[in-house]
Symmetry: C2
Subunit: 273 residues, 2 copies
């Protein structure tokens, strides 16, 4: 018998919501090691039966009861999982009956969203935003820069591209980005291409040591990646942001999700999807 | 007094988890109209106090009690929100004490993840994946195609690019994509560039009417966007997938999240982040 504490994360859909729920809860017990596994699309009694076999086998092999985090809309499927030999925490179980009581109406208990016209519109907004962000990556063109919701500005490798893509995919925003080159940084003036859009600019900065580390992987032992150059580029970029009143954030200790959410709050831009 | 049913979604972090939780629950009551608002980064008692003012004002204006969905780790902050005049459903409230009991240890109640070395590694994996996917978008290059975890194949506008980017951002996968052109579709043979990587291919298809609609927005009244051309391209692409045993999915009714999660399951590829 092992002491492994299994954690099963089960969903009737993609599992992205239940995964972040499960991880958020487990992160609250960071001193315990869990053996985590994800099981999306468990949406029939048959699939749930097989799931229970897997859970019960884990339960039989370990001295510790498995944990089961689930997000399953269908009551019958949920009930099957509930019969397994583990501690079962289901997200709908916890909330849906309290909501039914409050709203004095029954929940639909139907899996998935209704794919109506709103969804298609949102989908288009997202696709368009992604295409826009790709076309305006790395200062590629200023053709339709005026259509951008936000323009991220920062030195090479400061995290502009993934942040733009996340803003587009998650919030449907048209996010362009512009890399500050050594030429731009020589002057305290804003780069020519950016001048007409000063109120759309948002700066990204990064710890010089971290930037050095990232650039070294790209071009080892180059002037580009040297710690001296990284320090001076970061210093000059930040001083440009301050001089022109451009809000900015450091990407050093933030995930793309956090950066995107922060940019939304600080700029007050409304999401499109 | 209005009959508006307000729904406040509150989080001490980015709000992405609590948003998908709240939306999933509200979607179960699709016949009711809710006035939803998101409130990320509510992580101090002061911010929670202001939040309560907003909630109580909404409560005073409406005959229906506001709903409050929250994900707040800090007990004191949570307690403040709990004093508002609404139905408060907190995610940690619902689960953390049952977990503490099961694990016989106290939760840390600290907001956020620990940004340790693992996070930095994951971050690098993601960044690398995003850069790879950008470099290998739209069959741009086959230089390092062998390093791809998966290569999405489909006709123009079938949804390859956003799906690739999502696979990279969410799962840290190196996802390339290759557009099937009319030249490729004339033959039952696999395109030359793809032949060496047959086991990495995953097809995307789309409803011809939908494709027509999407392409019309790009090039109205063109051969490219005509319904006849869309029908024949889709038919030929699907027949290529079948002939070569390439697994494929339709993007017509699926979100990028669903597509990405399905591709992961069907291919058995392991995520890198």
């Amino acid at each position: 018998m092992s002491h492994t504490r299994y954690a099963f994360i089960i969903s009737d859909r993609t599992g992205i919501t239940s995964e972040s729920m499960g991880q958020a809860l487990l992160n609250q017990f960071s001193h315990i090691e869990f053996k985590r596994s994800m099981h999306p699309f468990i949406d029939t009694v048959e699939k749930a039966d097989k799931m229970v076999d897997i859970i019960n086998q884990a339960a039989a092999e370990s001295t510790a009861r498995p944990l089961i985090f689930s997000s399953i809309v269908d009551k019958d499927v949920r009930e099957v999982v509930h019969q397994s030999n583990g501690l079962h925490l289901d997200f709908f179980d916890a909330f849906i009956s309290r909501l039914e009581e409050e709203l004095q109406t029954a929940a639909s208990h139907i899996v998935g969203n209704i794919h109506g016209i709103t969804d298609e519109e949102k989908y288009h907004a997202r696709m368009e935003a992604v295409n826009f962000s790709l076309a305006h990556d790395d200062g590629a063109t200023d053709k339709e820069m005026r259509k951008a919701d936000v323009i991220l500005v920062g030195v090479s490798r400061s995290g502009k591209t993934p942040t733009c893509l996340y803003l587009a995919l998650q919030y449907g925003l048209r996010a362009a980005n512009y890399p500050l080159t050594p030429d731009d940084l020589g002057s305290t003036d804003l780069p020519r291409m950016l001048k007409p859009f000063k109120n759309k600019l948002f700066g990204l900065t990064i710890d010089a040591e971290r930037l050095h580390h990232i650039r070294e992987q790209r071009r080892p032992n180059s002037k580009y990646s040297s710690i001296e150059n990284c320090r001076s580029e970061v210093r000059e970029a930040e001083s440009m942001f301050r001089q022109h009143g451009i809000p900015f954030l450091s990407t050093t200790h933030k995930s793309v999700e956090e950066l995107a959410a922060n940019i939304l709050i600080e700029t007050g831009i409304k999401r499109r999807s």
